[in-house]
């Protein structure tokens, strides 16, 4: 199926949810509201003509001072059977950065959602294990947000003192470090 046809189908099925359909270089993105994201994804996954069985990618995007609402969660879907693609973008506002998890539909969304939570601070409701994944657990801030600086003040990692103390403790056992 052509990507625009797919977008039309989603629009037909969920007329109140679809905000906008954009197209760039033959790739179509469907911007949707976040409330029924599970229903939309379930439909895309289960419908025999669409059959998006493969979640190629899931990531966040921050449109600070450019778009309202600020965040987007981007789903790249692919169908192994029909060989078509679509991009789904769910809008997430800054004051309520929560969205439902799609791990129940695609198990592969697990770590992608964790990463999105780690780097953008978006909370995925119902996620089985929502912890930071790439950064240390006590990291402050969300690095991929646009208001997070590339180069911050030179500050030691808060856990470093603990490591140094441990090293001192182990010195009596002959540990050279």
């Amino acid at each position: 199926m052509e990507p625009l046809e797919i977008a039309e189908k989603i629009k037909e099925k969920f007329p109140d949810e679809v905000v906008e359909v954009t197209s760039f270089r033959d790739q179509v993105s469907v911007i949707v509201k976040k409330h029924k994201i599970i229903k939309i994804c379930r439909y895309l996954h289960d419908d025999a003509n669409l059959y998006f069985d493969y979640l190629a990618d899931l990531c966040g995007a921050d449109h600070l001072n450019k778009k309202e609402p600020r965040f987007e969660v981007v789903y790249h879907l692919y169908s192994m059977r029909h060989r078509h693609r679509i991009r789904l973008k769910a809008q997430v506002p800054e004051d309520d950065p929560r969205i439902d998890t799609v791990t129940s539909i695609w198990a592969g969304a697990n770590w992608h959602e964790r990463e999105c939570h780690d780097l953008f601070g978006i909370v995925f409701r119902g996620h089985p294990d929502l912890r930071r994944v790439l950064l240390p657990e006590d990291w402050e801030g969300y690095p991929l947000r646009k208001d997070y600086p590339v180069k911050g003040p030179e500050k030691e990692w808060s856990g470093f003192q603990e490591v140094l103390d441990k090293a001192k403790q182990f010195k009596e056992f002959g540990w050279k470090g």
């Binding site: 493969y54 190629a56 990618d57 192994m80 198990a107 950064l135 590339v150």
Partner: protein
């Protein structure tokens, strides 16, 4: 020693279980474990030899490549992609430049496409060789490790001949490739393609029918096709489960639609099948290289798109060539004293007050033409052969028009300068482009706001997805099989952590 009296009643099963309390052991494997292929850490809960729970921890190699990429021009972010999967840097580069070219809307010349396909398959072979060596070494076969490095070294030497680098190559460029192939390179590569199939036979003699190898790989880490798709697997890891998904076939890029090759698949989805898929893939890669050499067309290696790509260096030669001794001279009458050239000059040869006409100290000037390219008002004059002349003479010469050849070259230089410093003007939009790297599907998602840097750069790393699935593969199996499983999904943590 106390003797057990015979008149005690025999212990019931329940009583034994109650008296001998068993507790699961928590074992920390990694992050510095040689068999985890990098800084992967697994926290295991063990019931004897059986893995009850496996929790992977990643992120020890997180360098924020996505964030860095968002603050660099498209061209400058290219070397970052080498550092993703450092075992097959070439394929990462090609994935990146393909995505950027689609975004810019550049059509790459045919010859460059074939060269890229050729070197990408070389990257695939070198990656699979390293994978085979380490995977076999982890399971206990030492000999293949020595064998594969013989061929890998050959490919490394070929890469060195190609672009001067062995590991972090950055050979492809946006719009083509950096330089053309030498005859020596083609000859050596052709010889390689002739010998390589027999070398693969050698590895297979050591492993494919080896009883220990079969015991350690058959029926281990089995995953069904549906589940593998659902988990987001890609590449040989997915094809091992009998799913014929290959980006090179599903959405061909470069010259993959012009060469013939098969996509090997496995049937059971176990460690052995994933091994067989990679072995067969090496043979196919060899076939593709051979076809690329035979079909290699003549023509340019860089796209003709001067607003996006770097143009050949010799076109700018008349401006920066050291043999022609230019002098640069600031037109005092029109200089507004904005200070742009003053800040940009690497030799610190420009001086002057703000809002007053600047001057160039001719004895310090190295004739690099940076000021010429920086000046927003085009007030700097090039005076060919003007080096060493007096100030008055330069003033006189500045009035006369400069030769056309130099004017044209200078225009080129300014374009080049803009592309490197500010980045080209990019169409607004967003794009996800996937390519088939040896590990699986490497996707780049760009959001462009029209400026010279990506607004959002997202890297979909196959290793990250595969590392996520480790609990699914390992839980319920034995400790020793974890090693087989980690080897069979072929992860590199540089790519996983980004």
């Amino acid at each position: 020693m106390e003797r057990i009296s015979s008149n005690q009643p025999p212990l019931s099963e329940a009583r034994i279980a109650a008296e001998l309390k068993t507790r699961e052991i928590t074992l920390n494997m990694g992050p510095q474990h040689p068999a985890t292929h990098g800084v992967l850490r697994l926290v295991l809960e063990l019931d004897g030899e059986t893995v009850v729970k496996c929790t992977p921890y990643v992120g020890y190699l997180h360098r924020g490549i996505e964030k860095l990429g968002e603050n660099l021009t498209y061209l400058a972010a290219l070397p970052l992609t080498d550092r993703l999967d450092y075992v097959s840097a070439m394929n990462n580069n090609i994935g990146y430049v393909n995505a950027v070219e689609r975004l810019f809307g550049i059509e790459v010349p045919e010859r460059a496409k074939f060269i890229r396909t050729m070197v990408a398959e070389m990257g695939r072979i070198s990656n699979h060789l390293l994978w085979l060596g380490t995977h076999a070494l982890d399971i206990g076969a030492i000999t293949p490790f020595l064998y594969v490095f013989r061929e890998r070294e050959w490919i490394m030497d070929l890469f060195e001949e190609l672009c001067g680098a062995r590991l972090t190559l950055s050979y492809p460029r946006i719009g083509g490739v950096r330089n053309d192939l030498s005859q020596k390179f083609i000859d050596s590569l052709y010889e390689f393609t002739e010998k390589f199939p027999s070398r693969v036979d050698e590895y297979e003699t050591l492993l494919t029918e080896n009883r220990i190898w079969l015991k350690r790989t058959k029926g281990i880490g089995v995953i069904s096709a549906e589940e593998a798709i659902n988990l987001g697997f890609s590449g040989p890891t997915l094809r091992g489960s009998n799913v014929k998904y290959d980006v090179r076939k599903h959405a061909p890029y470069d010259a993959y639609d012009k060469v013939e090759f098969e996509v090997p698949v496995g049937f059971n989805g176990d460690v052995f099948d994933r091994y067989m898929v990679r072995i067969k893939e090496m043979r196919q890669a060899n076939r593709i290289i051979r076809q690329c050499i035979e079909k290699l067309p003549k023509g340019p290696i860089m796209a003709d798109a001067p607003e996006f790509t770097l143009q050949p260096k010799d076109e700018m030669m008349p401006v920066t060539h050291p043999a022609i001794e230019h002098a640069f001279y600031i037109d005092e009458k029109v200089c507004k004293g904005c200070g742009m050239c003053l800040r940009a000059c690497p030799a610190k040869a420009i001086f002057g007050e703000k809002k007053q006409p600047h001057k160039i100290r001719q004895e310090l000037c190295v004739a690099c033409a940076t000021c010429y390219a920086t000046c927003p008002f085009k007030n700097i004059r090039i005076i060919p052969g003007g080096k060493g002349l007096s100030e008055e003479r330069l003033k006189e010469l500045a009035e006369s028009p400069i030769p056309e050849e130099i004017a044209k070259a200078a225009e080129h230089l300014v374009k080049q300068f803009t592309i490197i410093r500010r980045g080209p003007r990019v169409p607004e939009g967003e794009l996800y482009v996937a390519t088939e790297v040896p590990k699986g599907e490497l996707g780049f998602y760009f959001v462009s706001d029209g400026r010279g840097r990506p607004y959002r750069m997202r890297i979909r790393a196959p290793s990250y997805v595969h590392a996520m699935a480790l609990p699914r593969l390992c839980e319920g199996g034995l400790v020793a099989d974890i090693i087989s499983n980690i080897g069979s999904i072929d992860i590199v943590l540089g790519e996983c952590d980004r």
